[in-house]
Symmetry: C2
Subunit: 350 residues, 2 copies
């Protein structure tokens, strides 16, 4: 007979029989109860080892009416920024003894709805959602009504009291603009990102405010929305340079767009950081290894992920679902794409 024929999952009852105790005692051992005699404990553990017992969490969850599963719904795992976010979240959950489910929606609200349904059926204890583009504002109402703890990552949902964890988009964009202004730029563009994106709206808001504060007219600044991709970045750059009085620098919707802008510059024989300054947003791992290394707004993705996880965890444990938003700190990571060391060296030489 093959070692593990199909239907022979070992249960707590067989362990009990083997160890000569009741199933209740085995259960006690399993959860490390103090009140079982060491000798008994040892007998039970031996049986568990010998019979190759595997704990059935499904059954346990059913009985206890709460689960150790938490879900994370990510809009695009293929995007390194969100992949890093997911990994940060996962780490916290794992450390807290929960089992994280990761699901990818590929920016499809339909898929997202399916996935949410699946997660509910699975009985998740809590959920972190980085919403797909175009998510209807009521997408999570069912979850909330059932008082399942939910935290939004990065993207806010209008008119809902669901806690959001994300970076300080306005401040980040402001820092970027101020940097460019310090470097002497006066015509600054905002490039890339879907025009209907909430995150983009926030970043754009900071961008315009900073421009206005510096006495520049935000309405004269090029504002080119595109897909938040490399192609999108290259495209946005074309739009910008086609102006009669083209900008000399840009703050980009995110790093990926910024890479695209650099690409576009090089295709035109220009050197990012010389002639045209580019600043990204997010500080993905790749930014430091790009050519040139990308000056960008660092948001500490992993940290945000961990924070989101902590928030959900707290909601689960306290049973309250009224956590506060968390606006993560941002800072400017100065590298070379808008006139760093390399460019200065160059200038000196000239």
């Amino acid at each position: 007979m093959p070692a593990g024929s199909p239907k022979d999952r070992v249960t707590i009852i067989e362990i009990a029989a083997a160890a000569g105790v009741s199933k209740s005692t085995v259960s006690l051992v399993l959860k490390g109860s103090e009140s079982v005699h060491p000798a008994t404990r040892e007998r039970v553990n031996a049986a568990i080892r010998d019979l190759g017992y595997v704990y059935n969490r499904g059954a346990a969850n059913l009985r206890r009416a709460r689960s150790n599963i938490v879900g994370m719904i990510i809009n695009d795992l293929t995007n390194p920024f969100f992949a890093e976010l997911a990994v940060g979240i996962e780490r916290s959950f794992q450390a807290a003894g929960y089992v994280p489910f990761i699901a990818n929606t590929a920016e499809s609200p339909v898929r997202q709805a399916e996935v949410i349904k699946l997660m509910r059926e699975q009985g998740v204890a809590g959920l972190i959602v980085s919403a797909a583009r175009g998510t209807p504002n009521d997408a999570l109402d069912g979850l909330v009504a059932a008082s399942v703890p939910v935290v939004l990552a990065m993207r806010r949902l209008q008119g809902r009291r669901i806690p959001v964890v994300g970076p300080d988009n306005r401040l980040g964009a402001r820092l970027a603009v101020e940097r460019l202004i310090d470097l002497g730029h006066r015509r600054i563009a905002f490039l890339g990102g879907y025009s209907d994106s909430v995150v983009r709206a926030e970043r754009l808001e900071g961008f315009r405010a900073a421009l206005a504060d510096a006495g520049l007219d935000p309405d004269r600044a090029v504002n080119a929305a595109t897909t938040p991709t490399r192609e999108g970045g290259a495209l946005a750059l074309e739009t910008a340079l086609a102006q009669r009085n083209p900008p000399t620098g840009a703050v980009c919707f995110n790093d990926i767009v910024a890479f695209g802008v650099c690409l576009g510059l090089r295709r035109r024989g220009l050197q990012p950081g010389r002639g045209f300054a580019v600043i990204g947003f997010d500080d993905v791992q790749e930014a430091v290894h790009a050519d040139p290394p990308l000056t960008t707004i660092a948001v500490d993705v992993m940290g945000l992920g961990e924070r989101a996880a902590q928030t959900v965890l707290k909601m689960i444990e306290t049973g309250r679902n009224n956590a506060e938003d968390h606006v993560g700190a941002v800072h400017l990571a100065v590298r070379e794409s808008c006139g760093g060391p390399a460019a200065e060296r160059e200038e000196k030489r000239a």
Copy 2:
């Protein structure tokens, strides 16, 4: 009273009461049985909608002794190649009505062991594993003994009869070498990748065989193992160029390494594709948008992911766990990093 106070999950029994039928009938409706009267079905569905019933898959799985959960264990989600793989796998599972769990091991065998344990406890119906570096060969023996269907993605485990789905690494490396030889290169290096990696060993084997077939001595070729990262690539390049008779081109362990090599070249004022040819491996999405666009061995990751999922699905459905390995087709994607259009144009001009 708040709409959804903590402990009020609606069950099949309450639906039954509301619809004036038995719980068995509700169960029948839930699974779309033909043998329930349309009128009854409608009454039940109405109750389901009205009471906001959520199906409890955990309970169902417990009773049926099989689950709709499948796991995928990925060594590094932060690596775009594996992220794409995960997304491809997920898509297939979802389409087949299974709920995929994604877990990331961050290349840690310890973490991997934990995650496998968790997945078993959760009662996964099947598992796809892209093994962490340094995974002991017996890491999956428990799973196999319990006859849980497992498929390995990309990375083989020595001495085990576990089906593997991966690209044709040997052929890929051979194609890369042949291309470089066609372009006139005679001193070709193999750059990057951990020296203990099985995948690297296979690619290296193809590399050496192709060299030998072309009458070149594989032992004279630079073979520099490093981390499979951008830094690693840059480092490997340094090693290669430090030789007394440095190579004029390289096939890289993967695209990320190739990007690093390009970076290193540019730091030295060299232009990838002119003076030094670089070929990557994998064809990640980014390759086409790199500067210069990367010539590489395309492996169709998503396709491999789907294939792996299909294999597991078939094992689950047939109950047999003796599927065959799948060696995916590869082809050379010619772009510009080893003398494409741009370089030729350049040569013409000269």
